[in-house]
């Protein structure tokens, strides 16, 4: 059928577009980002000293005057007390890279680990709510490969 062929063609175009954007975005995103990536800093730490950086890192250890955090293979010290932070928390740190694996922070934002775990649980509830509400009103017509209003299938 013409309608089915048009639908298939549109699907191919859209999925192709998605694939192209995923590759293109992967190509440009690091160049467009105003900061070096973790792997760039790992590959040449000294070369990036003095540059502005922005990382999301997991807290490893906490001292009264500093926090040590890591992301992938990159471990950095934030030489500043961060109130309330405990190991396992996630910190966003924006600042300047200093010699000796230190980041001089302009701003640190803490996401507590317990809140992050709750967020994942709540998000699963959200997905279940959307799926449940949808399937209450719609069902699948396998012959037409389409969602149809429940009761009309």
């Amino acid at each position: 059928m013409v309608g089915d062929r048009r639908r298939l063609l549109l699907l191919v175009v859209l999925v192709g577009g998605l694939a192209a954007m995923s590759v293109h975005y992967g190509t440009v995103v690091d160049d467009q980002r105003p900061y070096p990536t973790q792997s760039e800093v790992l590959a040449d730490y000294e070369g990036h000293v003095g540059e502005e950086v922005y990382f999301w890192m997991t807290v490893e250890s906490v001292r009264p005057d500093a926090v040590v955090a890591r992301s992938a293979g990159l471990r950095l010290t934030i030489p500043r007390p961060v109130p309330g932070v405990v190991p396992g928390d996630v910190v966003q740190v924006h600042g300047t890279l200093r010699p000796g694996r230190v980041v001089d922070p302009e701003r640190v934002i803490v996401s507590p680990r317990s809140d992050l775990l709750a967020m994942y649980v709540i998000s699963v509830l959200g997905a279940a709510l959307a799926a449940g509400a949808f399937l209450r009103h719609w069902s699948v017509d396998p012959g037409a490969w389409a969602f149809v209003p429940r009761g009309e299938e």
Binding site: L18, V23, R107, L129, F134, A146
Partner: protein, 163 residues
């Protein structure tokens, strides 16, 4: 992102308001907006299959985050709309797009240490809009606000249905 429940509830609120305002849109389209509000977070599939894994397997750069940008989310909504019957596709796309729009609006105010949100308008623009700095994705209160709003809209819709 705010958490997914906050997004889905926001989709419910907007979908219900739209359905209430337009008689041509039956209430079965409300959950379509809820699903739309969740679509950009399909990019979270990267927690299961990292972008780097696909990139190294295929030998080309790759980022799931394209799904969490305007172009990717609209394309996903287009695919979603094609899963409906012909006559319902425009409305399905409209409600999915409404949900997608609400998703980005709720993600803009998330606190970022450098003060800028990601380039949500990709591929139209790589500009990074200022982040609102209102809440963290892991904060509970935006979800509570969304739940209260959803509750109010639910009660309103039921009253309307009876009158």
């Amino acid at each position: 992102m705010a958490d997914l429940l906050a997004h889905v509830l926001a989709g419910y609120v907007l979908g219900t308001l739209l359905v209430g305002a337009r008689e041509s849109i039956p209430s079965r389209f409300v959950p379509v907006a809820m699903v739309g509000a969740a679509l950009p977070d399909l990019a979270k599939v990267r927690l299961l299959v990292p972008s780097e894994l696909i990139s190294s397997t295929l030998g080309v750069p790759f980022s799931w985050l394209a799904l969490h940008r305007l172009g990717g989310a609209v394309a996903v909504a287009g695919v979603g709309a094609l899963l409906f019957r012909r006559g319902e596709r425009p409305r399905a796309f409209g409600l999915l797009a409404l949900g997608v729009a609400s998703h980005f609006l709720l993600d803009l105010p998330v606190k970022r240490a450098d003060g800028f949100a990601p380039p949500y308008l990709y591929p139209l623009s790589m500009a990074r809009p200022p982040a609102g700095g209102l809440y963290l994705s892991s904060d509970l209160w935006p979800t509570l606000v969304a739940a209260v709003a959803a509750g109010a809209v639910w009660v309103g819709a039921r009253r309307r249905g009876r009158s």
